[in-house]
Structure formats: structure tokens, C-alpha cells
Subunit: 141 residues, 4 copies
């Protein structure tokens, strides 16, 4: 498994923000976690509300906790709410809506996750995906 370097994380943040500004999204928080769920890089645009960072981090952390994108976690939450409620209790931070996207290397190994919050979930996810792909990596939402 390759490491997710600071340089790569900063490329992801910059490209996600560029996508958001070009598409005129609301102000976003972007968080890049490595495979250990440690914060590698983060940015909150001017005007983001008080806890956007925590929500973005919770999307990415949830994706890493289960090894699936937070969009799929949201589908599981609708189908089996008791599972997600229990999981959140043992896992901690976990926001099961789109916008938490796994980062995979060319061998398909999970090397981290990107979480985005601030606009509607589909737009959050689009910004995360744009950032990951700009770094030459594979996004799984």
C-alpha cells in the first residue's frame, strides 16, 4: 500500500476547492485522511459554519471505518437504521451521507478518504471526487 503523502493531500484539497469555485458551490470544508484515519490536510473556506470540519471529517472517517463510501453508508442507514446507530456508538465519528469518498491506489488498496461538507451531498461528493482524480488516484463514493 502506498502512503497518502502531504503533497498528494494538498493536491486533492486544491483541486476539490477549484472544482467547488468553478461550480459555484457553497463554502466547503475539505478533509483528507490517510488509511489510519489521521488528518493529512484540511481547508475550510471563508463563510463555512461552525462545525463543517467535523461533519466532513465524520463522512471520511465513516468511509474508512467500513471500507465503503459514505453514500453507501447512507443507503445502509435507510435500510437498517439500527445497524448504523449501533455502529456509530462503537465507531464514534460517522456521518452516513454522500461526501465521504475512499481514495484507492492503482492496485485498489484503500490509502485514505476525503470528506467534504457545505453544499448538498451530491455536490460535496463531486468536489471530493474531482480532488482525488486530479491527484491521479481512484475515487469510490
Amino acid at each position: 500500500m502506498m502512503a497518502l503523502s502531504l503533497s498528494t493531500a494538498q493536491t486533492i484539497v486544491a483541486a476539490a476547492l477549484a472544482h467547488a469555485r468553478k461550480a459555484n458551490f457553497n463554502p466547503l470544508s475539505i478533509v483528507v485522511l490517510d488509511a489510519r484515519s489521521a488528518v493529512v490536510a484540511a481547508a475550510s473556506e471563508d463563510g463555512t459554519s461552525l462545525r463543517r470540519f467535523e461533519v466532513a471529517q465524520g463522512k471520511a472517517a465513516g468511509a474508512l471505518a467500513f471500507g465503503i463510501g459514505s453514500r453507501k453508508l447512507g443507503e445502509m442507514a435507510v435500510e437498517r437504521p439500527h445497524f448504523l446507530a449501533g455502529a456509530a456508538h462503537v465507531v464514534g465519528a460517522l456521518v452516513p451521507v454522500a461526501g465521504g469518498v475512499l481514495v484507492k491506489d492503482k492496485d485498489g488498496a484503500v490509502i485514505g478518504a476525503v470528506g467534504v461538507s457545505g453544499d448538498v451531498s451530491d455536490n460535496d461528493e463531486a468536489a471530493a471526487t474531482a480532488g482525488i482524480e486530479a491527484a491521479g488516484l481512484t475515487a469510490e463514493g
Copy 2:
């Protein structure tokens, strides 16, 4: 962004309480938070139950966390309960029902939030709004 001073917060509390007494509401807890989610002023009327303050604070804190009134958070909680459950886990204090109202200055910047609890949610929100408007500021419920 202007600060939310103690003097302004005390005006908000006094006007919210005056509204509640004139309308004969149940005993209320009123909490005024600044943009940092720090308590600037608070009052709990005689007869309020044990955790009214915490509920009022949770409404205001939820509004600040997401930059929307707690009434809208409540609508989101009905539509997407898993989102609010996850958000509460990462954000902490968050009561998603009407009565947590953003305070905006004349430029539209969020300078704080007022949380009220003790009567039905619509009345709680009306008291918060009356307090904010009495201070010459804009309320967003």
C-alpha cells in the same frame, strides 16, 4: 463581522422574556450564544424543568453548527434521520426542533444564535425572534 456584546445579549433575553410573559407562555430558558457558540447571556424562569437550559443551548448550538435555524434542522431530521443522528455524534450538542434562531447583522453575517425551550416549539421560536428583533438584528429560524 460585528461581535455580539453582553449588552446586546441582555437586550435579547429581556425582550424574549417580555414576549413570553405577555403571551402567557410556559416558563422558558433563554440562551444567547455568540458566533463562537460561547454563552453570552442566559436566563431560566422560575418553574423551568431540570434541563431546559441544556435543551435551549442545544437548539442554538445546532443552528450555529450548520448555519441554519433549528427548525430547518428538524425538517432535515424528519427527511434524513441518519444524517442528523450522525451529525449529532460528531457535533455534540444539537437539538433539531424549532426554537434555535440565528442572529445576523445588517450585512447578513451570522454573529450568534438564540435558543429557547419551555413551551411548544413554535412559541419558543417566537420568543427568540422577538428578542432578536428588539435588539435591531435579523432573526433566521
Copy 3:
């Protein structure tokens, strides 16, 4: 036991602040709790740092938890640190330094506590005591 009314709590807050301004203390947070440890009134002066309210509340809550002023809790913390560490674990909020003062009625019954934070502990306690005495009640620091 008499109740600690909102009116009395507001008298305490106003008198504590007046004392602080006359003595030129640093900006203070003042919290008045009733016998149940519920917040009755609070005020944070302009310029108080982010968590002054929580520290003030923790002083008052610690006083109520054990039925002694937070100055004495601080002495116990020096003599028996393991006791205070354990107590904090079970009790929760508890800041064992001067500035958390019990409020007693004329029969000696504990009807609440006042917590103050922002200046040195002795000054915090002096402001709390001034507030309590201005309301015709007995302070026990």
C-alpha cells in the same frame, strides 16, 4: 429551602459585574446555578476567552456537587489529588479553584452556587461573594 429565583439570580449577576468593573478586573463570566445545578442566569463580558463560561460553571457545579466552596475543593485537590481526580470522573464538570461560591439562605440551606472565571481566582471569588451578598444571601467560598 427557598428557591433561587431568576430575579435573585439577575441581581447576583448585576452586582458581581458591578464589583468587577469598579475593581477593574479582567472580563468575567458569571454563572448562577440553583440547588439542582441548573443554570438560572449567566453573563460573559465582552472580551472573555472561548471557554470562560464552562470554567465558571465548573467551579459552581463542583461546589454544589460536594456542598463546599470550590476554594476548599482546591485545598482538597492539593492534599489528596487522587480523590479529586476520581471525583471529577464520576461527577463530571468540576473546577477545584476559588471562584465557585455556595449560596445559602437565612436558615443555612444551600439554594445554589455562583461560579466566576476570568481574573485571578481570589478576584473571581470576590466578585461572586459581592453578588451573593447584594442579594441579601450568605456566601460560602
Copy 4:
């Protein structure tokens, strides 16, 4: 009070990292918080241990909680360990050692804090200070 913009926070991070590389420090985590204690920007260098981000954030958050640099909080922790233990209980995240530095604007208002962790505390603080000063702001360690 001026806001601490993303652009300014990114300047602080870049300059703190440049200082660290020039001085050959161990790998660092850098966190920039605004006055609300919200994460504006962060970076963890390759090789940082698992919870460096949280330690850096705890230094900055402690500084904001009390309005003093985390070096001074550390001195208080040595003189009055019970105070810091209690404060940590009510405040939450709080790492009382050097490396959490207040950011002040030209009027002396606290607009945020920078936390650094990874090398010895004096070096962590030096990196934070270098970052803040590169942005034309005032550092208070």
C-alpha cells in the same frame, strides 16, 4: 475583529512548514483554528505519528479556551495541576505544553490560534510563531 481567512491560514501553514524543514525538525502536524476554534487549515507531514493532529489541535484549542498561549497553560499545570485537570474536564481538548500560539490582529484581538506538534515543544512553538509572523500577524506563545 478581523476574520482569519483560509488564504491567511494557508500562508501560516506553508511558512511554519518551511521553517521546520529549514531547521530540520521532526515531521510536524500544523493546525490553524479561527476564533471559534474551528479548523481553517491543517497539514501533517509524512511520517507523523497517529495522533499528532489531535495533539496540535489540543494545544491551539487550549490557548483559545483561556486566551493565553499553551506555554503559559503548561506553567499553570505545573503550579496548579488540579486546575488544569479540572479545566480539561470541562473544556475538553486541551494540551498544556508549548506549541499552541494565539494569533492576534493589529488591534490585539484574538482571531485564532496555531497548534504544532511533532518535535520538542520549543521547536513546535518556533514553527507556529514563524508561520504567524509570515502572515503579518502577531504571535503570543
